[in-house]
């Protein structure tokens, strides 16, 4: 029959495996509690999304409030439309909020910066409802265009 030692060693082996898996899931991928919480969708049209990717972050003042869940091209106007999954705990952005595509650091990832707007019920400015479009968007800065503008303005002087 099996000796107690072998059973014990196999037990340790399995425990180590579970610990390693949990370590990978929680410490490395950090997919514990947040990230898959409830979200609602907002949409926005951009002239140019630069290097934005699906799963890029949406941040307000540096705090992640959601992620990009879909990017596609509007076929009638040929402008990119992005879908933003915003966590339900952040559910009171006003209609005057604006979006801009920013870069983390000089070479870092691009993310969407959400600038919350003011709210005024007398002027008829309301809170964004799920499925609404955010109208005020600023396109991504494309480095080549920037350099082109700079050279152009230099040559004018």
């Amino acid at each position: 029959m099996l000796s107690k030692k072998i059973e014990f060693m196999v037990g340790i082996f399995v425990a180590l495996g579970i610990a390693a898996f949990l370590g990978l899931a929680l410490k490395v991928a950090d997919s514990g509690l947040q990230g898959s919480g409830d979200t609602y969708q907002l949409y926005a049209k951009f002239d140019n999304i630069g290097g934005l990717k699906v799963r890029s972050a949406v941040k307000v003042g540096g705090v992640v409030v959601g992620r990009i869940s879909n990017i596609h091209l509007d076929k009638s106007h040929y402008t990119p439309i992005i879908t933003l999954d915003i966590f339900v705990e952040y559910d009171n952005f006003s209609e005057t909020s604006s979006l801009s595509i920013l870069t983390a650091g000089l070479l870092g990832e691009q993310y969407v910066g959400l600038d919350p707007g003011f709210m005024d019920e007398e002027l008829g400015i309301e809170i964004l409802q799920p499925g609404d479009f955010i109208e005020d968007t600023k396109p991504a800065i494309v480095l080549e265009e920037l350099i082109g503008q700079f050279l152009f303005s230099q040559s004018e002087d």
Partner: protein
């Protein structure tokens, strides 16, 4: 000329028949899931000799591979001021590729060869035939527990390998080379997805299946002489390693594109 055609035909028939026998061994190994009363002690015994005894080599190589990755990655990344990306670089390469693949290769060398040699020697000393004489199905008593033990152990070994690799990278990157600890973990956490872990797990399951299948088949099917056992052991390791590398490419192409 005629000899050569004969040889070609014989080889082809042998290969196909070998595939058939391999499928048969696999089928009966899979269908005999160890039951609780009789099979479980055999299974645990095999997990010990296949998994637990491979633990040392897996842990040592995992740690060192993580350390080397961190060292190599750092020297390249620091030129671009991107040493903050060391964490995801190490974690992703371990989880997606090196963890499953290197574990499978080490497993084939450490445990697969032992399985083949053990079963081969059992065949050569006619232990398998004696089992049959006693109306015990050797496929059920000998092959199935070993197959399931290998299939069970390797994903665990791969997870331990990846985790220790990341800890090794932390040792070198953070403790020695001075990458910021917070950056190391937070960039890793934002870049590594649960899907990466699951896909790595799928890979190591597939590799475990292939490696143990080849190991038990080669042992069960070997020519029962000392030379036959040595050949079976060699070809078990060689074929398992080649198949792991080939399958890795296919799985990567399927899952990560």
């Amino acid at each position: 000329m005629l000899d050569k055609i004969q040889w070609l035909g014989r080889t082809a028939i042998n290969v196909i028949a070998g595939l058939g026998r391999a499928a048969f061994v696999l089928g009966s190994a899979i269908s005999h899931i160890p039951n609780v009363r009789k099979g479980l002690p055999l299974f645990i015994q095999q997990v010990y000799s296949v998994g637990v005894l491979s633990l040392i080599i897996i842990m040592v190589s995992g740690t060192f591979i993580g350390m080397v990755l961190a060292l190599q990655g750092y020297t390249v990344l620091v030129d671009y001021g991107a040493e903050g990306s060391l964490g995801p670089m190490v974690a992703l390469s371990l989880l997606r590729e090196l963890g499953p693949v290197v574990t499978a290769l080490l497993f084939a060398g450490r445990a697969g060869s032992a399985l083949t040699a053990e079963i081969g020697l059992m065949k050569a000393t006619e232990q398998l035939s004696s089992l049959e004489m006693m109306a015990v199905d050797p496929l059920r008593r000998v092959i199935a527990p070993r197959f399931w033990a290998g299939f069970f152990s390797m994903p665990i070994l791969a997870a331990i390998f990846s985790m220790l690799g990341i800890i090794g990278a932390h040792l070198v990157g953070v403790e020695w080379l001075g990458v910021d600890q917070g950056t190391f973990w937070s960039v890793m956490q934002s870049d590594v997805d649960m899907l990466d872990i699951i896909k790595g797990g799928i890979k190591s399951l597939v590799f475990a299946f292939v490696v143990t299948w080849i190991a038990v088949y080669k042992g069960y099917n070997c020519i029962p002489t000392s030379e036959g056992i040595s050949r079976a052991t060699t070809s078990s390791v060689v074929q398992a390693s080649l198949l792991v590398l080939g399958l890795d490419f296919i799985l990567t192409a399927l899952m990560f594109t």
